[in-house]
Amino acid sequence: MRIKSPKDFWAGLMFIGTGLFFLIWAYAYYQMGTAVRMGPAYFPFVLGGLLAFLGLLVFIEGFALESTGEPLQLPFSFLDLVIAVAIFAVLIYLSTKAGISSDYGMLAASLVVSVLTVLYRPNAKALVLISVGCIAYGYVMKPLGLVAATAALVFISAFGGHEFKWKEVSILFVVLMVFSYLVFVKGLTLPFPMWPAAWS
């Protein structure tokens, strides 16, 4: 049998997996209760089953349908996704083992995944660099302050775009920095540190 619609095939698998996960997890860890007094497991158990069933329908449609439209084009494979998640898991685990904050493990993993992406999966550059830019923003903010965090986000995400010119991006960074400072820190008085905590 041939997969006629890979989009339905993968979407179906995703729904089946998610549905079964919620169903099994709810059944294993929370109380089911009765229909009159529903326990915490009841609703997720039913919904998980429903999702898995719907996923199965979509999955079957993926075989039955005549091929529809263009094929699925993801810039990464399922294996890439597993590897990326594994890198995060290992580095976060290692950083807590080493006695430093898991935040640094998160940053290190982001960096490793970005470098690997740029080297081996150039098509997934936008996806990974934009996500990593956001993560870096969050985890750089606490220890290093708003200026460093904004720089990280602007430069990393801009690198995920089609063209990257140092001069342009630097100007953009300065403009955004000034704007963030005036509007959010001065105007709305959000309590962000501007500079690294160690400096003050």
């Binding site: 009159v36 999702l51 329908l57 449609e61 993801l74 936008a126 996500s131 965090a149 986000l153 089609h162």
Partner: protein, 502 residues
């Protein structure tokens, strides 16, 4: 005249200087993001939600509402002048609007779009004022079983009206419902699906999910496409439409307004569906359908009136029932909750100044849009020449600041990035994110009402079919599902969404 009295109260609130200011900010911001392709009202409102925390509730809602209907005005400008839908609801405006611009009639096209939108806005405002109070009155009688059935109906309607595969849309709703359950179970206090992460004990933040699914995911998808925007700017001369233009378009404006208002009220409706529906309708009733796609002014007047009417009437279920019909309304509910106001029929009685102020502000905002926008078209068009490589890092910075400031916790930004990736995958798999967001916000409410209804009925699931109102919603849901499953209608539904610009 109670209506009259209420409207006066509303206008009193809406024209106070501070609210006028926020209304102006809202509509300007809305027009801005409407003009810019790739930034939608959902992402913008999500970005601003954390900031509204510091405002008073009326001003916050007035501003956010202004963004939504302002975006409908802005979207048409881009569609007509550059053949790019600045907003998804302006996709059909490209068909005839751009052709008019190429024939040197950009001015009349823009003017008709603005006039149609303004007229539709006025009618929709009045409609909300008339229809909302009786609906809210009815809703006050709702018990848990009625609410549960209503939510089932809303979610099913949302999937029926979504694009693409029906089963996938329902699956996305269920997926959203499940994600909404993450966090502390209110009845038992048990932490569900938190995996030992303390940040998840309050559940996944709605803003964070919305920003990821609609914000970062959208930017990533846009970057996947090559930047192929060419700005063809015809000089906009003589703005005023001719007598013939007006004669041809007034009926279209009326039809568009009527259709848009109806589709807006339906759960899952709103601006997008209204504009598609109106274009199809105009083509059907026209005596010269061959002109459509070649610059027929009816093809601009109808959809542009409809999308504005739909954008505004979609506030009705949100304001009266506390049930969001689309993603923007879900964010509005989020804004109410941030302010500590439980959305629902009681809002109208407990906070009349909020309710009527918001409604009156919509009329004021529409007036501002007409007065301000036509002279400012030149400026908006200049914005289009800003390349996307400057825009997207800026959008990201604002989103990141917004999300981070929710609780000063990097974890929120991480979750946003995760949902960005998920949203991107969903788009690639042709699974619509909008139904998921609806499910996500309704998940806890649905479980709560289901539990209560079952407790009251001593575990008898037929309670949903015994009370008349509840039965009505259940029957309506079933009918909707059956209708959509019919092959003939299915083909029509797919056809209605593929009116792509050439």
């Amino acid at each position: 005249m109670e209506l009259f009295h209420n409207l006066i109260l509303g206008f009193g609130v809406a024209i106070s200087p501070i609210n006028l200011l926020y209304c102006l900010i809202g509509v300007l911001l809305g027009t801005l993001i409407g003009v810019l392709p790739g930034v939608g009202p959902v992402a913008t409102i999500a970005m601003l939600l954390p900031i509204t925390f510091n405002l008073n509730p009326v001003s916050a809602l007035i501003m956010l509402a202004g963004i939504y209907y302002g975006a409908q005005y802005g979207g048409s400008t881009t569609a007509i002048l550059v053949n790019i839908p600045g907003e998804s609801s302006s996709v059909v405006t490209c068909l005839d609007g751009y052709q008019m611009a190429r024939q040197g009639r950009a001015g009349p096209a823009l003017a008709i779009a603005a006039i149609g939108s303004f007229f539709a806005g006025c009618v929709a405002t009045l409609l909300i004022a008339v229809a909302a109070p009786p609906l809210a009155e009815l809703a006050l009688k709702f018990g848990p079983s009625e609410y549960f059935s209503l939510m089932v109906f809303g979610l099913i309607a949302a999937t029926v009206l979504a694009r693409g595969s029906l089963i996938k849309a329902i699956a996305m709703v269920v997926f959203g419902l499940l994600l909404g359950l993450v966090g502390t179970d209110v009845n038992s206090g048990v932490l569900r699906f938190t995996f030992g992460i303390p940040e998840l004990s309050d559940g996944i933040g709605f803003v964070v999910v919305a920003m990821g699914m609609f914000g970062t995911a959208e930017i990533i998808s846009n970057l996947d496409l090559k930047d192929k925007r060419e700005v063809f700017l015809s000089k906009v001369t003589h703005l005023y439409p001719t007598k013939d233009d007006l004669k041809r378009s007034w009926a279209s404006i009326l039809r568009g307004t009527a259709l848009g208002s109806c589709l807006g009220i339906l759960p899952g409706g709103g601006a997008l569906l209204a504009s598609f529906g109106a274009y199809t309708l105009e083509k059907k009733v026209s005596s010269h359908p061959e002109q459509f796609g070649k610059g027929a002014i009816e093809g601009v007047a109808g959809p542009e009136s409809a999308n504005n009417a739909g954008a505004q009437t979609s506030f009705i279920p949100m304001l009266t029932l506390g049930i969001p019909g689309n993603a923007v309304m879900a964010l509005m509910i989020g804004a109410l909750m941030i302010q500590g106001i439980a959305p629902g029929p009681q809002v109208m009685n407990e906070k009349p100044e909020l309710f009527w102020g918001l409604i009156a502000s919509m009329w004021v905002g529409n007036l501002m849009l007409v007065v301000l926008n036509l002279p400012m078209i030149g400026m908006w068009v200049k914005l289009l020449t800003v390349p996307y490589r400057y825009l997207f890092p800026s959008i990201l910075v604002f989103m990141a600041i917004g999300v981070f400031s929710l609780s000063n916790n990097p974890f929120d930004v991480l979750i946003m990035a995760v949902f960005g990736v998920l949203g991107y995958i969903c788009v690639k798999l042709e699974c619509e994110p909008a139904p998921m967001i609806l499910g996500f916000i309704l998940g806890p409410l649905m479980e709560e009402n289901l539990r209560r209804a079952m407790l009251l009925s001593r575990g008898d699931p037929f309670v949903f079919f015994q009370k008349p109102i509840s039965l009505g919603f259940m029957v309506a849901s079933a009918v909707l599902l059956v209708i959509v499953a019919l092959p003939a209608i299915r083909a029509k539904r797919e056809e209605a969404f593929v009116e792509e610009p050439k």
